[in-house]
Subunit: 210 residues, 2 copies
Amino acid sequence: MGQVTDTREKLLSSTLELMHARSYGDVGVQELCEHAGVKKGSFYHFFPSKRDLVLEAMEQQWNQTKRLIQDQVLSSKLSPMKRLERCFEIFYEAQCASKAKTGRVHGCPFGNLAIELSTQDEGFRKKMDGIFREFSDVIEGLLREAQTAGEIAVTNVGATAQALVASMEGIMLLAKTRNDPAVIKELGQVLVRNMAVKPSRGRNGGKAKN
Amino acid sequence: MGQVTDTREKLLSSTLELMHARSYGDVGVQELCEHAGVKKGSFYHFFPSKRDLVLEAMEQQWNQTKRLIQDQVLSSKLSPMKRLERCFEIFYEAQCASKAKTGRVHGCPFGNLAIELSTQDEGFRKKMDGIFREFSDVIEGLLREAQTAGEIAVTNVGATAQALVASMEGIMLLAKTRNDPAVIKELGQVLVRNMAVKPSRGRNGGKAKN
DNA sequence: TTATAGTTTGACTGACCGGTCAACTGAGGC
DNA sequence: GCCTCAGTTGACCGGTCAGTCAAACTATAA
């Protein structure tokens, strides 16, 4: 009975594309509908509001991202720290692709929306917070593996994982502001390698007091 | 002849306040004017457009920030790495203040605008890029001092400084998304301390190859 | 064939957007 | 006393915003 269409899905994927490339405020319902090839009336048949559409689109995006990380990073046979570095490579490749297609580095879709909306809409803030926490848990797992493998010597793994997530977000921000994906690869490497255990040269490289 | 007023300054400081708390897209000219106690007609007497006002406000904000960093961080007598840590403390205190006043952590005014506008307005992107580069130079200076003082053992100081700036931005982003200023202090410490030279325990903490 | 649920359509609402403008105000210089 | 001019005012512009709605259409199941 009735019809079954892909209108809903078209709307969601258009949202992912446009919101990532621009911003929540700058992309209107009208434009969203035109991009999806859908009339505005249909939009409100499937979603109660623009806000709800974007919230659901973010959920979808995060599920896709988790799958990508699982397949391309976690299930790889590299050493833990190399897998962490691989994580930056994935981000680098994604931004290279968007730069090649649109001429712009768009940064992290989650970070972008978190910054734009988390002071204005508590629902968005909580959703983004949840995503970052989940991601932090993934990184923490990687760090624990690296620790038992002796690749790093870190006292507070949980906080370090959070700091790493923050650094990733910041690197994506900088890459977007430079409009240069190379930032991701370069700074990612610096970050990971500064974290790795160095072959100690001399008794004590310097007193770390004061 | 004619009048001299502080309308222009009121407009600029209202912009700083409102744009930092919300976003470029969400704050309209009308609201800006009401907040500053100015009529819309006056606005366009002083600024050709909203965009120009915000661009100038950012310039002002950056000059204020540079002065703050100079006074509170660079000219302090702490060790270089302690001064770096002090930098995070400054950010922490600023976000505590805004949380106490408004109930919200608003993050970095530069990062916020960079994310919102740098894919849509090349002028904004360049301005923010310039600010981040200047800031990176300041951090690089601090890092070089730390290096000669033997506080850190880092090969690529320039890239490390950039990575630090990125991490700061990311930490501000995370603090905003959590709505918790403590994130800044905690993750800042983790970052700085993981970077400091550790008292080497044993010949080689682990092979850092593969 | 008909009933019906699911989907589509486009005209519509009222509020608000950034920006314009001509008329006006008021203080300092002459 | 008046001229000049920076600054002020509020009405107004066309356009866009998110969201509404009643009517029409369409595919399927009975």
